[in-house]
């Protein structure tokens, strides 16, 4: 009985200032076609509330978009016998293939460390790495390398201050997705924060998938590899023979 009362007590304040997200997306799925060259997604929405705006502290918005996670092996080169050789390797258990985090202000101001750790919001926390081999003392530098390399490829983005918020109600941001996207569901999360604490959240997903010819070829290569291989060879030989024939006609004519 006491426990229920306590729970209710904890819930009460959040009921009082309940703020909910109403979300819009410029597209709910990204179609990878033959001419696909990256995509820009517009994420916009409003904060719905039953009570007047809480004026005690400003409302902030944090938006994350995460591609499917996969394990990654990170290798480090060392100078051995005059040449650069891969020596140490660390497996990062889960690194999202794409990750963008956009906020209304500097991350350390809009989000407390505890909330960040708990909800895995910033890139450092979105990557999961456990169990580096015991002979490697600086496992963190391997995780940092993943972030650095992916940032250089435009696959990891930290967009501080890139979310526009009007009247503490309307927010919007745009996320650029590069051309080399992995297929899958891209989890999109929106957090509303006050004083660094999360006061509301919303989650949806954007489907990124191959369509048309891309879909057909990809499926065929996985489901009928023998036919796919034979087809590749047939096309190659036909093109080789065709070009040869065309050239002969040119020479004869």
């Amino acid at each position: 009985m006491l426990r229920i009362l306590l729970t209710l007590l904890f819930l009460l304040p959040s009921f009082a200032v309940a703020e909910e997200v109403v979300l819009g997306l410029s597209k709910e799925n990204v179609a990878i076609t033959t001419s696909f060259d990256g995509s820009e997604i517009l994420i916009f929405g409003a904060v719905k509330r039953e009570s007047p705006i809480d004026q005690s502290s400003p409302l902030e918005v944090v938006i994350t978009v995460a591609g499917p996670s996969e394990p990654v092996v990170v290798r480090r080169k060392e100078h051995v016998f005059g040449i650069w050789v891969n020596t140490d390797a660390v497996e990062v258990d889960a690194a999202p293939s794409f990750y963008a985090v956009a906020t209304t202000g500097p991350i350390d101001q809009v989000l407390s460390n505890t909330e960040d750790l708990r909800r895995k919001i910033t890139i450092d926390n979105a990557i999961r790495s456990v169990g580096a081999p015991s002979d490697i003392t600086d496992a963190e530098s391997f995780t940092e390398a993943v972030i650095r390399i992916k940032e250089n490829q435009g696959l990891y983005q930290t967009l501080e201050g890139q979310v526009a918020l009007d009247q503490q109600t309307l927010f919007r941001t745009s996320i650029d997705m590069p051309a080399d996207l992995t297929e899958g569901d891209y989890t999109t999360r929106i957090f509303l924060t006050r004083n660094g604490e999360i006061v509301g959240d919303y989650e949806t997903s954007i489907a990124v998938e191959k369509v048309g010819l891309e879909r057909f070829l990809f499926n065929m290569s996985r489901e009928q590899p023998v036919w796919y291989g034979l087809m590749s060879l047939a096309i190659a030989i036909a093109a080789g023979w065709g070009a040869s024939a065309v050239f002969r006609i040119f020479r004869a004519g």
């Binding site: 480090r76 650069w84 050789v85 390797a89 080399d180």
Partner: protein
């Protein structure tokens, strides 16, 4: 014009691929090399995942070699009998090569060993060919169109048993050396993702003593079947053959090969060899520098579960 490759899962410029295919095609027609030793590193450079580059390259070599070999068949510069012997060795070698490749993979050092293979083989063959062909040119100048240099010398190759007559090449030698050459090239093609022409052409000229004019057609003949076999192995086990990438490369490649074959006929054999030697040395130097100089990024990412 950007195009998204379904298997490689990257977006690249279609004209860049056509251009690369054409350039490598010209070389393929001129020298009878598949061009894989140039194309595979170039594909890495433009951001194609290595596994896809190696597998797709095998498929593309089939196409460019096919149009090349047709041109040589019409000119009757293919030694079918020698080609078949080399092919038997090549298929055996390719199968062996896959076993070796998987063993190296389990050691976790496959990239390094592939690169070292490139540097060592390209370095040795490039230097040998360069020196030899320069000497040949100098001799031809001094003789001033006199008696042609004596091609065939009796070496240990001629002392081996199971002799066979190769009429097109004008040879009567044991089948053992061509079989060994075939096996060796097959192993290399599976490990390095190349047709192996750059090893086979010098081996045929210097080791077997075949006339230069039949060497190109015969090596193309062998390469077609070995790379087709490799393509099938990759398509069925690793799913890494990207047909869209292959088509773009081969459209450029087949046109280039036709031009290259025509250029090759007009040039003297010694000049061809000097050029090929220089190119082999340039690629070798570039790969060696990559190993020797400190890379800007010491870390690299790879898919898990591969080791």
């Amino acid at each position: 014009m950007q195009i998204y490759l379904p298997i490689a899962e990257v977006s690249v410029n279609a004209f860049l691929l056509l251009g690369l295919g054409g350039m490598v095609g010209i070389l393929s027609g001129m020298f009878g090399v598949g061009g894989g030793f140039l194309m595979t590193p170039l594909l890495f450079f433009i951001g194609i995942p290595p596994a896809v580059a190696v597998a797709t390259e095998a498929n593309q070599i089939v196409a460019s070699s096919f149009s090349g070999v047709l041109a040589h068949f019409r000119r009757k510069t293919v030694d079918l009998k020698m080609g078949t012997v080399l092919l038997v060795g090549g298929l055996t070698g390719a199968a062996l090569g896959v076993v070796v490749f998987n063993y190296l993979k389990s050691l976790g050092q496959v990239d390094l060993l592939v690169k070292l293979c490139y540097v060592v083989f390209l370095g040795i063959i490039g230097s040998l060919m360069f020196v030899e062909s320069l000497n040949a040119i100098r001799k031809a100048r001094r003789a001033d169109g006199g008696a042609p240099a004596k091609r065939r010398q009796r070496t240990w190759v001629h002392a081996l048993p199971i002799k066979m007559r190769f009429r097109t090449s004008g040879l009567y030698i044991s089948v053992i050396p061509p079989l060994i050459v075939g096996v060796f090239v097959g192993i290399l093609s599976a490990i390095m993702g190349v047709g192996g022409g750059f090893i086979m052409v010098p081996a045929m000229i210097y080791l077997l003593g075949m006339p230069t004019k039949v060497v190109v057609g015969t090596s193309l003949f062998q390469i077609i079947f070995v790379t087709a076999f490799t393509t099938m192995l990759h398509a069925t086990t690793n799913y890494t053959v990207d047909i869209v990438l292959a088509v773009l490369l081969l459209v450029g490649g087949v046109i280039g090969a036709q031009i290259g074959t025509r250029i090759g006929v007009k040039m003297k054999a010694e000049q061809l060899r000097v050029l090929l030697a220089l190119m082999v040395l340039v690629v070798c130097g570039k790969l060696a520098l990559d190993l020797l100089l400190q890379p800007t990024e010491l870390y690299s990412l790879g898919a898990a579960g591969g080791h």
